[in-house]
Symmetry: C2
Subunit: 142 residues, 2 copies
DNA sequence: CTTTAGGGTCTCAAATTAAGACTAGGTCTT
DNA sequence: AAGACCTAGTCTTAATTTGAGACCCTAAAG
């Protein structure tokens, strides 16, 4: 299930079925996965369960508000579970559910792609930006 | 490279390297891929090249502004190319570059996961929401 | 008594996205 | 010939999201 044909096919089916959010599992699910912080949070939970503050330390540039919300969404979707320990300053641990762990694999594929093609993308960006601001003397001679 | 061990490893490395956007290929790339419309657009271009309006018809709920921007970003990143045909009302065709096609495969993995687990996620959401609003007669009898 | 820690919530401001009017040039209709 | 319409965008103006950081409560530490 990794050739090119089945690939086109699945994209084809998807489109045929309609892209309507709500009606569409893919959009529905990808909207969450593709969320700015969700992937990062999943990755942070991949190795082991983590507490709220710990997650915040790992991802310093997420606001508590968004971290809370991301975690809630993960919990709501059944990808993570929340465990409260009634210690003195109560601590809360988040851990991936089996469902949550199952998304790690496809996600890793994407991450691998990102790592492998980062250079190409960076170069493409550089070229594009250069072309937009750089070629003051390079139009085709009309 | 699809077991669980290497998987955890890659996530581990990623985190060790730091999650800083900019410094981090993964965040850098995933921020774009994970963008609300990028995945959809890639999928729309997977089968064949498409014109602007055609894309807009396929994804009716994207604004022209965002479609334009998504397409520009794709072009900038070298994932798609833009071809202008000087027909009467000029038409513009977008097509995936080889790099763009290469992302389809990992993306398909995620899409497959979404399709397979949509039911489980929906059910988890239902449970979660029920638990939050539903148990009006279920507190412990004080 | 003040500070620190943990896990959040809340408010306000900044940034992003959606909706849709408007453009330019040419064709089609009447 | 006047007016309507097409494509591919751009621009302006809302509405929605996100970010930054103050603030809450409890209990131990200093």
């Amino acid at each position: 299930m990794s050739d090119d044909a089945p690939l086109s096919t699945s994209f084809g089916d998807w489109q045929t079925a309609g892209f309507d959010a709500g009606a569409c599992p893919v959009r529905n699910v990808l909207d969450r996965i593709g969320d700015k912080w969700t992937t990062l949070t999943l990755a942070a939970l991949a190795a082991r369960p983590r507490r709220f503050s710990e997650l915040h330390r790992i991802m310093p540039d997420i606001s508590k508000r968004m971290l809370t919300q991301t975690l809630r969404d993960l919990e709501r979707d059944g990808l993570a579970t929340r465990h409260v320990f009634p210690t003195k300053p109560p601590s809360v641990e988040y851990r991936l559910s089996p469902l949550g762990r199952s998304v790690l694999h496809p996600l890793a594929g994407l991450i691998g792609w990102a790592e492998q093609n980062f250079a190409a993308i960076t170069e493409a960006r550089r070229r594009y930006d250069t072309m937009r601001t750089g070629p003051p003397a390079e139009e085709e001679a009309t």
